[in-house]
């Protein structure tokens, strides 16, 4: 038995399917690929897939992570090509390696946001200025849905680093946020905070670029 960590892109049309839909696509591709997948024992045998950090519907992912168990050895190139042959174009496996760290070691994620405003009177410069103001604040309070209901939390300590870039008609925010099983901050919370503080409705295309452990080394 061999544990394999796959990295994949979720983009184009596939950014609009949910995590469960993604699981279904991967399960089918795994089956069609005829790779030596390890199946669970019992009444309903299925492959053992594990997704350490699901991606929200609407977000693209550049290096998403999926752990799978194989029965036998298989070459990385073969795994990648056989799976990609059987996946929709919007899901692309890019790597298949032995896992280095454990799934629970994920602590941060790097996101890239392209932010525009619904309000035509607000330009990129203003968004950029407001954003810089917000990100510098010691306390950024926003309402988050938790298991015990809606809670007001401060997300400022969860912002590890950021770069705000003003473009012609949008603002590019590159930000590292807490991520993982212990604490996970969805970038949409940041957008919500912006809207709450400035009363300006904004819209962003979000892409998750990379995952990191707690020492900010790339999660492999």
């Amino acid at each position: 038995m061999k544990n394999v960590r796959l990295r994949f892109k979720k983009e184009k049309e596939c950014k609009y399917i949910s995590h469960l839909d993604l699981v279904r696509c991967i399960n089918r591709a795994v089956k069609k690929s005829k790779l030596p997948i390890w199946y669970t024992e019992g009444f309903n045998p299925h492959p053992l897939l594990s997704f350490p950090l699901p991606l929200s519907l609407g977000m693209e992912g550049e290096r998403e992570c999926l752990d799978i168990k194989l029965e036998d050895m298989a070459q990385e190139a073969e795994i990648i090509s056989k799976l990609n042959e059987n996946l929709p174009q919007g899901i692309r496996i890019t790597q298949a390696n032995i896992p280095v760290k454990k799934a629970k070691d994920i602590a941060f994620a790097l996101y890239e946001l392209k932010i525009t405003s619904e309000d035509k009177k607000i330009n990129a410069k203003q968004i950029s200025e407001n954003l810089q103001t917000l990100l510098k604040m010691e306390e950024i309070i926003v309402e988050k849905k938790t298991k015990s209901g809606l809670k007001n939390i401060n997300i400022s300590p969860d912002i590890q680093m950021y770069v705000v870039g003003e473009k012609d008609n949008y603002v590019k925010l590159t930000v590292v946020l807490s991520a993982g099983s212990e604490k996970n901050i969805n970038p949409n919370l940041l957008l919500k905070a912006f809207e709450d503080y400035f009363g300006i409705k904004i819209y962003a295309k979000i892409k998750r670029i990379e995952l990191f452990d707690k020492t900010l080394n790339i999660f492999e």
Binding site: D21, R24, C25, R28, P88
Partner: protein, 620 residues
């Protein structure tokens, strides 16, 4: 995505609606011919939402068949859910195809499948959303030719003003021939009428514009006359040899959850039983079976190409398939190994062998569903169901002994000659079935059984012996539902009933004529759509529409016709003779049953197609 609209806008819209996955395409196995030279661009439209459309077998067959032709590109178009439609209208986005996101109004041929009458408003709504002219006579030239097929074409008259061509019967042969002819006419720059006159010569093609309807003062049809050199009666098209007819090997695999995410293996068409309420059994005659080896091979290839892990056989009455046990043996050889679950729906309650029951049990443990349709033997004989109480009990007993606790039974309310006693017999029957469970010493120790009774209102349909009957009006139906509910004394029996209001509207259009086209137009104007969905069906608005059009819906649904009346579908030939239907109707009222095709030929007329069971039997 190459849609010619502001991509940022589109992205925002998709993020603001339910299940954006419905509108994006990009599925594995979807066909992209955008880099190829194609002659005919065909929009295959299913007038319902993605989850329903992607579960439909007919769509899969036609998509594969058309796309196999190098010069034809067939793309899928489904009805956007109302929330998406609203956003599309707000943002000037017209209806587009899933594969290339091309606007429907840029397609050559726009083809709809008419699966059920309540989807008619969706057909019009989709055309409106596409920016395509609704009235056929106002669409000039060959571009945007609107065609339709499916079971409802046996009486498509309410849609006659909107559709250029109807395909009667099965489209595997007629459609390809039609599209090839279209291509020739297009390159020769022929007029629409020149093309349609040629097309009308193809078996199964019905061009409504070539037929004029005259009405009597009382609103019934006086006569149906041709106004061009075309057949007075249009005969449906059938595929004689199912083994060698086209069947798809692949189909786009849905990424989101759909109603039936599985491979469907068609085993036969038509039905031998001649249940008197059943339209499908008659309009798909003569019965033609596919060989088990062919079904098995087709299913295997599909499972390999789609990676779906669920397989189902498809027919009107699967336990009547002469090679069912053989087919199951063939499936056994690979489905378990490939981890594919098999389901066997549409089983008759009176011919399930022990072996079959065991097989079903080994495949899956979902509930068992049967359709006795009527509670009393008298009424079952009237409708020619040919199922005795003994047989019902015997099968239920076997099912319980095999491990099932839950059974679902389908019945109808409002069948011809029905009395209150017949209705009370339904719950009496269910109660006796519960008793059977407890009579068996083995089952009594298990968890409590549950019998669910599901009733629907009887809807008289064309091409059945009951096509002259009146549907009970809504008050009467509600009274009967109430009577059923009150007659249920057993806590382990649950009674569900299908909404009477939707059944009434369905009945209006099922036997409707062309006078209903203005009703559909107004319904579309008023925004009526998704009538088959509880959350969108608006009965009050429908009544408003009928009133404003000065049409009495009861004229179509609740009126008993005489055998002499000219029916709006009399110019359409499905091989079933009127004399046969009249005779069956009389037998029904005399409470006499009729044999099935395998036992005795009743001369229904389907032998005119010289194929299937009647021809084989005649030869014997």
């Amino acid at each position: 995505m190459c849609y010619k609209v502001d991509m940022n806008k589109f992205d925002k819209i998709l993020m603001s609606v339910q299940k954006p996955g419905r509108y994006i395409g990009g599925e594995l196995n979807s066909i992209d011919k955008s880099n190829k030279a194609i002659d005919v661009h065909f929009a295959l439209c299913f007038p319902d939402v993605y989850e329903i459309a992607m579960s439909h077998l007919g769509l899969k067959i036609l998509y594969g068949m058309l796309n196999e032709q190098e010069n034809i590109w067939c793309e899928r178009v489904f009805a956007p859910w109302p929330d998406m439609q609203e956003k599309m209208e707000e943002n000037d986005i017209s209806l587009y195809s899933l594969e290339s996101k091309t606007q429907v109004k840029d397609f050559d041929i726009i083809g709809f499948t008419l699966q059920y009458e309540l989807s008619y408003t969706n057909v019009l709504n989709m055309l409106k959303l596409a920016g395509v002219e609704l009235l056929a006579k106002k669409r000039k030239g060959l571009k945007n030719l609107v065609i339709a097929g499916g079971p409802c074409t046996c009486n498509p008259e309410p849609l006659a003003d909107f559709i250029d061509v109807f395909f009667l019967g099965e489209a595997e042969n007629s459609l390809l021939e039609f599209v090839e002819l279209y291509n020739k006419s297009k390159s020769k720059k022929e007029s629409k009428e020149e093309f349609l006159l040629k097309a009308a010569k193809i078996q199964g093609i019905y061009v409504p514009n070539f037929y004029d309807i005259e009405y009597n003062d009382d609103g019934t049809v006086k006569n149906i006359k041709v106004n061009k050199d075309v057949p007075e009666k249009v005969q449906k098209s059938i595929v004689k040899d199912l083994d060698n007819s086209y069947f798809h090997q692949s189909f786009p695999v849905p990424m989101i959850e759909v109603v039936h995410d599985r491979v469907e293996g068609e085993i036969f068409r038509g039905c031998t039983r001649a249940c008197r309420f059943c339209q499908a059994g008659f309009i798909y005659r003569p019965v033609r079976e596919k060989s088990p080896a062919v079904v098995d091979k087709q299913c295997k290839i599909l499972c390999e190409n789609t990676g779906q892990d669920s397989l189902s056989i498809c027919s009107l009455s699967s336990s009547d398939y002469s090679s069912l046990e053989q087919l199951i043996d063939l499936f056994d050889e690979w489905t378990e190994k490939e981890k594919i679950s098999v389901s066997l729906p549409s089983l008759r309650i009176n011919n399930i062998s022990d072996r079959l029951l065991n097989k079903i049990k080994s495949f899956s443990r979902t509930g068992l569903t049967f359709a006795p349709e009527a509670g009393s033997q008298r009424l079952r004989d009237v409708i020619n169901k040919n199922v005795s109480e003994e047989e019902i009990f015997s099968t239920c007993k076997k099912a319980f002994a095999s491990g099932w606790n839950n059974l679902k039974l389908y019945f109808m309310l409002g069948l011809p000659t029905e009395t209150n006693d017949d209705i009370k017999s339904i719950t009496k029957l269910a109660g006796k079935i519960i008793d059977i469970y407890y009579d068996d010493k083995k089952t009594i120790k298990r968890r409590a059984p549950k019998v669910t009774i599901s009733t629907a209102a009887f809807i008289p349909k064309p091409f059945t012996p009951f096509q002259w009957e009146a549907q009970d009006n809504i008050e009467k139906l509600k009274e009967k539902q109430q009577l059923l509910k009150e007659s249920n004394r057993c806590r382990k029996v649950k009674c569900n009933y299908h909404d009477a209001y939707t059944s009434f509207i369905e009945a209006v259009f099922a036997r409707g004529d062309r006078k209903l086209s203005k009703v559909l137009l107004k319904a579309c104007d008023k925004g009526l759509k998704f009538d088959g969905w509880r959350e969108y069906f608006d009965f009050d608005k429908w009544l408003e529409v009928f009133k404003e059009c000065e049409i009495e819906p009861e004229f179509y649904a609740c009126r008993k016709r005489s055998f002499h009346e000219v029916l709006p579908w009399d110019h359409l030939d499905y091989g079933i003779s009127k004399e046969f239907l009249i005779n069956e109707c009389k037998k029904a009222y005399a409470e006499n049953t009729s044999e099935n095709c395998k036992q005795k030929c009743l001369n229904c007329g389907a032998s005119c197609f010289e194929g299937g069971i009647c021809y084989e039997k005649r030869k014997a």
